[in-house]
Symmetry: C2
């Protein structure tokens, strides 16, 4: 069983993946996509994946057969599994939770070669709908405190298969960077009774030097202290703490918006490898009973997506310190993207 | 002038490097060492670098000429410079400090092809001596709150030149990961009047499943919650808050120890790319006057080195969440390294 282990110096949880444990000879930073005879994510190869969990399909087609638009399957090599686990242990100064969670793959399209900016807006909407529905479903399970939805596009961004897909990992803990944001947002709210991310968005809109696009109720800007060249912060302008609460109409508007942003990145940076990560509310049903965490979360948190193009190598300085050197000026990055004619 | 910008959501400082600002076409994760006709770090090519700051040399040789053992020069493309800067600004919700600092390269040997584990212990001692002397010197400048010393070995670990070297960056702020450790260590000390890292070391020694080596007053172990395969934590067994305080005798013993640890990594993992980062005390002379930070730092902090082999790709999950999946079991990694016969 995998273990969730806590680093008491860094306040950081790590999944130690015991089942796929690697010998020294297995470890080498791969420079190629996994070689597969036929892509398991393509239409017609449904039997190459574990049975599907959720899909959008044409009427009268059966699960695990062709006819789908978006298809969600368990990761074949899951970092965490849904069965058993969850027991908590203290081991001297350390903490451990027996691995429990979910690790799923969201196959974004039956087409092997079309990535999000190339897809019709309706298809992008289905992907976003899939995110929301999986969040809603997994948050019914109070063993899971967080569901992290993320996308690795391109091999150097960590994708091991080229076919467009995102992933989700449900965990019994809240990941560190999310936790830091939650605490910061809460303490801002306690002082000001305002959402920090609403405040940041308003400052960006009024400064108007880092905004890439503001349209249909959404905004994308290059963060003031961007860690990486062409990093973007994408969020609804109006306050909303959770992606679970996004309406169908908003999903449709957001699909257009996100597609447009990713299209700009693709054009300006020549289809760069990138990651994006959905930062949404943790599962408030899983809140510890006698804690004051998350009590104002509906007011103090604001869902957003971080988009991180992977254009520079990360060296020891960054790993060891959590401190970054960005060779690109956010205001200039925003201008390149803003000036790009959209499709 | 470069800017230090603060991310109010993540409590993270970022250097925005305005002078070497990159256009989109300049940005691509390089897969080759910088091509240089002759290595600027080799003996005989001293004029290819900026003038040296510090060196250990044979008697009667002049600066910037052959005859050196270890040589320190300014980075040719510094992230921060020592002149001017340092003014602090608030910009709405953001904070900015005009870039000031130092960025130096420690050339570890005149020989192009010998890395730390291949060098004679005396040469490794000179490198460590260089670290200590630069720390002592730079900490006289109270504009600098921290000096981060780190090494990138191998191209995929971020080295842009093959010749063995380390780097240091002096900054007017304390980097985030160091700050988190300082706060954790302080709060442990407040409760228990004991150093957290001393406690961790004692637990590791008595558990004895993750220790790679304990010798000459130093210990190396695979951290319980290692983020990366074969990650190592290297520290003196006896309490010492700062590398500045390491005696000549300790430097000599540590040189043997570090060389041996890096030799084990090299043998077991076939000369892997790696980073190491020295985590030492911040510059207590630069402590803000009316703050209680660092007041017990001589008792609560404990210098150490984090060694991170770069064997796996880092994907969106890790970037977005600060949460890691380690495909290798720390106890097993420690056993591989422990069982390796040393030279």
């Amino acid at each position: 069983m995998p273990e969730l282990r806590y680093d008491p110096l860094q306040h950081r949880w790590v999944i130690i993946s015991t089942e796929r444990a690697a010998r020294p000879s297995d470890l080498h930073a791969s420079t190629k996509y996994n070689s597969v005879k036929a892509c398991p994510f393509c239409e017609g190869f449904e039997s190459s994946t574990p049975p599907e969990i959720w899909s959008i399909r044409e009427p009268n087609t059966s699960p695990n057969s062709p006819g789908w638009k978006v298809r969600i399957v368990p990761n074949k090599f899951p970092a965490l599994k849904i069965e058993a686990g969850g027991k908590k242990f203290g081991i001297g100064l350390y903490d451990m939770i027996e691995g429990v969670g979910a690790h799923e793959v969201i196959i974004e399209t039956p087409k092997h070669d079309l990535s999000l900016p190339d897809l019709p807006p309706e298809q992008v909407k289905w992907v976003l709908l899939a995110y929301r529905e999986r969040l809603r479903d997994l948050y019914k399970d109070t063993r899971f405190k967080y569901v992290l939805i993320f996308k690795n596009h391109g091999m150097s961004a960590g994708a091991s298969l080229a076919h467009p897909h995102s992933q989700l990992i449900a965990t019994p803990i809240v990941p560190r960077n999310i936790n830091i944001k939650l605490q910061t947002a809460k303490s801002h709210y306690e002082k000001k009774e305002r959402c920090l991310i609403c405040d940041l968005i308003q400052q960006e809109i009024s400064t108007n030097t880092r905004v890439v696009s503001i349209e249909n109720g959404f905004v994308a800007f290059a963060p003031y202290a961007s860690r990486f060249p062409f990093e973007l912060f994408v969020a609804p302008v109006e306050h909303n703490y959770s992606f679970v609460e996004v309406s169908d109409d908003e999903l449709e508007r957001f699909a257009h918006f996100l597609k447009n942003i990713l299209y700009r990145l693709k054009q300006v940076l020549n289809d760069p490898p990138y990651n994006f990560v959905l930062n949404t509310s943790p599962n408030i049903e899983a809140k510890p009973k006698f804690s004051d965490q998350w009590v104002t979360i509906k007011y103090d948190y604001h869902w957003h997506i971080e988009v991180i193009p992977r254009l520079v190598r990360i060296a020891g300085f960054e790993w060891g310190s959590g401190f970054y050197i960005n060779p690109s000026i956010p205001e200039e990055a925003a201008k390149y993207l803003r000036d790009m004619k959209s499709e």
